[in-house]
């Protein structure tokens, strides 16, 4: 957070949105295992965020969001709404998730943890999610010039905690409005690419139908799945990629891919003027945003 611009964060017109999937829940496990009560100071979302707010000198205007792996996207959405409504001058979105036995044990129990990450995804049928620590922040203000978040969408399938309905209609329901919004722009796509075969197949198919001419990349083979923070961590990489014209490829994967639009190699092209970034989570939760020139 040393790079975060100075502002009265947490004041009436400078709200802060803190998002995470797990906050300090790993500390509860540590307390239960070792009995050291100091761990309890960070055990709830509120206690964990209060500690961070105290360290960073924020005021009390702090909203805490937790929606598994679309948590950061929700923070960006709510921040944008407060700015659009004229309630906030600027908004700070801060997100983090770190690995703990809670997370690793949970994904292991679901039999979807790739314990050999970053070994390539395609060599295993289901145990494919490589986890990673992540933290990022974004300062949002009214667009004037440069890159802006032109639109954000969500869709929650509510079909199953960890499975998608056949056809993957939730992916399309989330991304299609953004594709329409981006009409006329030259786009590339940063998919969620969680690593499981079924999710990858459905996501690639939804983007193939919606915008077949746009290259699709996924970065969790490199960064790991940074859980609730992935939407903002990967947005930061996407922003840098747009600015530099150097887009990382789909690290840790190999042919054959689910769709010809999947780019395994980096893309060197500065003529793109927009990217759609997508994230998914438990419960068939989808969130996406369109990043493009103001």
């Amino acid at each position: 957070m040393s790079a975060c611009p100075d502002a009265p964060w947490g004041g009436a017109r400078h709200p802060v949105f803190v998002t995470s999937s797990n906050f300090g829940v790993g500390n509860l496990f540590a307390y239960r295992r070792f009995g050291n009560r100091s761990h309890l100071e960070y055990g709830t979302p509120d206690a964990c965020v209060a500690f961070i707010a105290g360290e960073l000198g924020w005021g009390g205007n702090v909203t805490i969001l937790s929606h598994a792996c679309v948590s950061a996207n929700l923070g960006l959405t709510l921040a944008a709404r407060q700015i659009a409504a004229g309630i906030a001058d600027e908004a700070l979105v801060f997100t983090f998730d770190f690995l703990s036995p809670f997370v690793a044990g949970g994904f292991h129990a679901l039999k979807i943890l790739n314990s050999e990450s970053p070994a390539p995804y395609q060599v295993r049928d289901v145990s494919a999610i490589g986890l990673g620590d992540g933290a990022a922040f974004a300062v949002l203000r009214k667009p004037s010039r440069g890159w802006m978040i032109a639109g954000q969408t969500m869709h929650n399938e509510m079909h199953h905690f960890t499975a998608f309905p056949s056809g993957g209609g939730g992916f399309a329901a989330c991304i299609d409005p953004l594709v329409r919004l981006a009409s006329g722009r030259r786009l590339w796509i940063k998919g969620h690419g969680t690593g499981t075969l079924e999710a990858g197949r459905l996501e690639a198919e939804a983007f193939r139908r919606a915008c077949p001419a746009s290259p699709l990349v996924g970065w969790k083979g490199s960064l790991g799945h940074t859980l609730g923070s992935n939407g903002l961590v990967e947005l930061a990489v996407a922003l840098e990629s747009l600015g530099s014209g150097r887009i990382p490829g789909t690290v840790g994967s190999a042919a054959p891919t689910f769709s010809e639009m999947v780019s395994l190699d980096p893309i060197f092209d500065s003529t793109y003027d927009g990217v759609i970034c997508a994230s998914n989570a438990f419960g068939g939760a989808h969130a996406a945003l369109l990043l493009c020139h103001a």
Partner: protein, 226 residues
């Protein structure tokens, strides 16, 4: 000023009731499988959401300070053989997801919030800023587990749900308004004046009590029942 009209209000004050009693009381409300499998907080939330979910629903805003404390405690104690079911139902958004998955009812926006001191203000502002015409606002807590002994779990169980619409109609039961108090110097986190917890907001709803006053340092709430 932000304003919405309230309909379909449901509240359940389960106090410090034992989980078995809550499950037994609500079991008949749901299909047998859900009544057996759902968490206590899932049952409480599901019970108050039933009427609110009967109409169109484009957005659900959910607030809970502690969330699934019982399931979380059970999951942590399931190590070294962690339970997959307890893992996915222990996460913060789980109670509403359990209900909606049981109903196989998709929803465009689902926004789960946490926090303590000003959680009422946060969920209200989030709901009132939703672009959807019809927003379901719900929340709740469950008492119990060793976490409550350390004030890391709620001292009471409760749940509420209501539908917020843009205009007054025959189903309107009340009105919510949020007014900004105005720019003030940021108070240190934790020292917020006029903060209303989710539990206090629940009490307002449960008693259908009018209210006009601050809910955070930034917002004044007006609740007016018809």
């Amino acid at each position: 000023m932000l304003e919405r009209f309230v309909s379909c209000v449901g509240t359940d004050d389960a106090g410090a009731g034992e989980p078995a009693a809550i499950r037994a009381r609500l079991r008949g409300v749901f299909a047998p499988a859900f009544g057996r499998r759902a968490t206590i907080l899932g049952l409480l939330i599901g019970g108050v959401l039933r009427e609110a979910l009967e109409g169109d629903c484009d957005a659900i805003v959910y607030g809970s300070t502690f969330g699934e404390t019982r399931t979380l405690a059970d999951f942590l104690d399931s190590f070294p053989h962690p339970s997959p079911t307890l893992f996915q139902t222990s996460v913060h958004p789980s109670p509403v997801q359990q209900v909606m998955i049981d109903r196989q009812q998709p929803v465009r926006e689902y926004i789960p919030l946490a926090g303590r001191r000003c959680l009422a203000a946060r969920v209200l502002l989030t709901a009132l800023l939703c672009p959807a015409d019809r927003v379901v606002l719900c929340g709740g807590e469950e008492h119990g587990s060793w976490l409550s002994d350390f004030r890391m779990g709620s001292d009471r169980s409760f749940a509420f749900a209501m539908v917020l619409g843009r205009s007054r109609d025959a189903s309107t039961q009340g009105r919510l308004r949020l007014e900004p108090i105005g720019e003030t110097a940021p108070e240190p986190s934790g020292g917020e004046q006029g903060a209303m917890s989710l539990s206090e907001f629940f009490d307002l709803l449960h008693a259908r009590r009018d209210y006009k006053g601050p809910v955070s340092a930034e917002w004044r709430l007006e609740v007016e029942w018809s």
